[in-house]
């Protein structure tokens, strides 16, 4: 299933051109996280399962003009030599090497798995959600437990003038900041220690950390 970015028509698998408006369709092949092997979308900055910095690897993004099923034999990047740390909190020690010095650094800690996800300050908008063809998530949470309550296009973190803001971009189950519902379209300026829960029941939650 491929949703047309131009007219939102739902096309069957294999479509190169939208059946309704004949616009070319994005051809996205999934790649796999070099660290844990989970499926991630090309262009995603972090693995939703293990928080691995995918950009650090500068792995090739496979965008094909032919609809195809991925051929693992040649498409999967070389496995990373470093073994997986036993303790997931050790991921901290593998924080990506920055090419630029940054005055601000911020991250989200996934509460349920204690996974740390660095927030880049090089871009203005970080999309949070699950794989989809309209707005591919930068932070893909599909690998976390209970991610079924999170919408494919759930929310954005915006970085503006040294501050981070969270906004819900129209999720089905809502977003709660420090247990208070965040109305869709409203922005919340994030402060260190804020707890962001995607969907009800505090099942997929993050703590925002700065500095």
């Amino acid at each position: 299933m491929i949703v047309c970015p131009n007219c939102a028509h739902v096309n069957p698998a294999g479509a190169l051109t939208c059946e309704a408006c004949f616009s070319p369709l994005p051809q996205i092949l999934h790649t796999n996280c070099p660290s844990c092997g989970a499926e991630v979308q090309p262009g995603a900055r972090f693995c939703g399962s293990c928080g691995f910095d995918l950009q650090q690897e500068s792995q090739p993004v496979q965008v094909s003009t032919e609809a195809a099923t991925p051929e693992p034999s040649e498409e999967v990047p070389e496995p990373v030599a470093t073994p997986l740390p036993d303790d997931e909190t050790d991921l901290r020690s593998r924080a990506p090497a920055r090419t630029q010095l940054q005055q601000i650094s911020a991250c989200l800690i996934h509460v349920q798995t204690e996974t740390r996800i660095e927030l880049p300050t090089s871009v203005q908008v970080i999309h949070i959600g699950k794989p989809n063809n309209l707005i591919p998530p930068d932070i893909d949470v599909s690998g976390f437990p209970d991610s079924d309550i999170v919408s494919r296009v759930h929310g954005d973190i915006r970085y503006e003038g040294d501050a981070f803001y969270f906004e819900d971009t129209g999720s089905s189950n809502g977003t709660y900041i420090n247990n208070v519902p965040l109305p869709p379209g409203n922005r919340h300026r994030l402060r260190a220690g804020d707890r962001i829960a995607l969907g009800k029941g505090d099942k997929v939650s993050f703590v925002f950390k700065m500095g």
């Binding site: 051109t17 408006c21 616009s23 609809a67």
Partner: protein, 422 residues
């Protein structure tokens, strides 16, 4: 006369290892003359709106245009003229054009008055047309300047479908800017004809002449396209078959399994009809049509059935054409430019239709975006006239204004056909 079909694929190659490759098949169909065949007489019926709003310059111009049409007809051609307001009358009974002066006199007697009932005009027109339908090429020109305020659009559409069954082609001419483009487009599409916009009264004669030349090039009639897809091919799920030239029309199809039939109507000499078929093929399947080899697969077979007005009573058929695709290893896309142009023609139409649907829902920002996409598509296919019209409509919506009646007509026509340059 005989019908000739040719085909091209959006990419003549397919990856032999691919289970699901999308391709477009462009079919072009035309009538081809076989030496010194005389022209078959026309049986032309003009159905003219003479409601009160046509008074003055509009009706003066329509009368003149109709008289010039009489002059351009051959003495063997047949003509009838119907005028309608909320009621229809026969102005010129169905006859051969042997006494053009007396016919023109009758046309000059037309006066404007009354309301508008298009379906009544159509009904009487078809009745009058039928009086001379044997061994002629049946054509109706329906001209109106307004909404069908005293009639039923549903009934109009029924008559248009009936016209197709009677094998008479129904063209619509929208006069001025107050007519309904949805109704006239539906009538023309169902009637196998063309929709023409006469924006200014003094363009009437020119548009009548253009349409007359078009119908004079008709060689074969009542053509139907018959397409049988291979077991390893399947048609797209959504509107898989559309005509893309000379005008874009969503064809009404009858589908039975992998067999599809669509009415094309008249076939012309020198004016191709092009039909685009959107499909998927499994190149790895062994369920192929006879005649396939592992590297040359038959995607489907195509045939056109038709009638030749010079050989009444017989349904004729073109030779069956096998559409072949080459299955190769390590395929790299090789777009066929001609088919790409056909795809863009349909994209332009569909994108504009989607924009109009958004406009109806009150989403003018969404409509503007889609119109802009359609303008880009027009530009890509080299249709700069349409690109200008579509872009100016998009800009109009972006600045928060609504489209005028004239702009809505221009937008529709620009999306449906390649605009004739002045």
């Amino acid at each position: 006369m005989r019908a000739e079909i040719t085909y091209r694929l959006s990419d003549p190659y397919v990856d032999a290892a691919q289970k699901n490759s999308q391709r477009q098949l462009a079919l072009t169909i035309a009538a081809v003359s076989q030496g010194n065949e005389g022209r078959v007489p026309l049986n032309l019926c003009l159905i003219l709106d003479r409601s009160g709003s046509m008074g003055g310059e509009p009706l003066d111009n329509v009368r003149q245009a109709a008289c010039r049409l009489v002059d351009a007809l051959d003495c063997r051609d047949r003509l009838s003229v119907i005028a309608f307001d909320h009621r229809p009358t026969v102005v010129v009974p169905n006859q051969t054009v042997e006494r053009p002066e007396s016919i023109k006199e009758q046309i000059q007697g037309l006066r404007a008055a009354g309301g508008t009932c298009i379906d009544e005009g159509l009904r009487l027109g078809l009745e009058e047309w039928a009086k001379g339908k044997h061994q002629t090429i049946g054509q109706v020109f329906l001209l109106t300047d307004g909404e069908n305020e005293h009639g039923s659009n549903e009934r109009c559409l029924k008559f248009a479908q009936l016209a197709a069954e009677y094998n008479v082609t129904l063209h619509t001419l929208g006069f001025g800017d107050a007519w309904n483009q949805d109704v006239l487009e539906k009538i023309a599409d169902a009637g196998g004809g063309t929709m023409v916009h006469i924006q200014y009264p003094d363009q009437a004669a020119e548009e009548f002449q253009w349409l007359l030349r078009r119908v004079q090039s008709v060689g074969l009639t009542d053509a139907h396209l018959e397409l049988q897809m291979a077991p390893n091919a399947r048609l797209a799920e959504f509107k898989p078959i559309a005509q893309v030239a000379p005008d874009t029309i969503e064809l009404v199809t009858q589908t039975e399994g992998n067999r599809v039939r669509a009415r094309l109507g008249d076939l012309m000499v020198g004016v191709e009809r092009a039909v685009l078929v959107n499909f998927y093929i499994d190149a790895t399947s062994s369920r192929v049509l006879p005649g396939s080899t592992p590297d040359r697969q038959v995607v489907g077979t195509v045939q056109v059935t038709y009638t030749d007005p010079q050989r009444p009573g017989a349904t004729l058929a073109s030779e069956g054409l096998a559409v072949e695709i080459q299955a190769i290893a390590e395929h790299r896309p090789q777009m066929d430019e001609e088919v790409q142009g056909r795809v863009l023609a349909l994209a332009k139409y569909r994108q504009t239709q989607l924009a109009e649907a958004k406009l109806q829902q009150g989403d003018s920002a969404g409509a503007a975006t889609l119109l802009q996409t359609a303008a880009k598509t027009a530009l890509q296919m080299g249709d700069t006239n349409a690109a200008t019209v579509l872009q100016s409509s998009a800009t109009r919506l972006q600045t928060g204004t609504v489209l005028s009646d004239a702009e809505r007509k221009q937008t529709r026509i620009a999306s449906k056909t390649v605009l004739r340059s002045e």
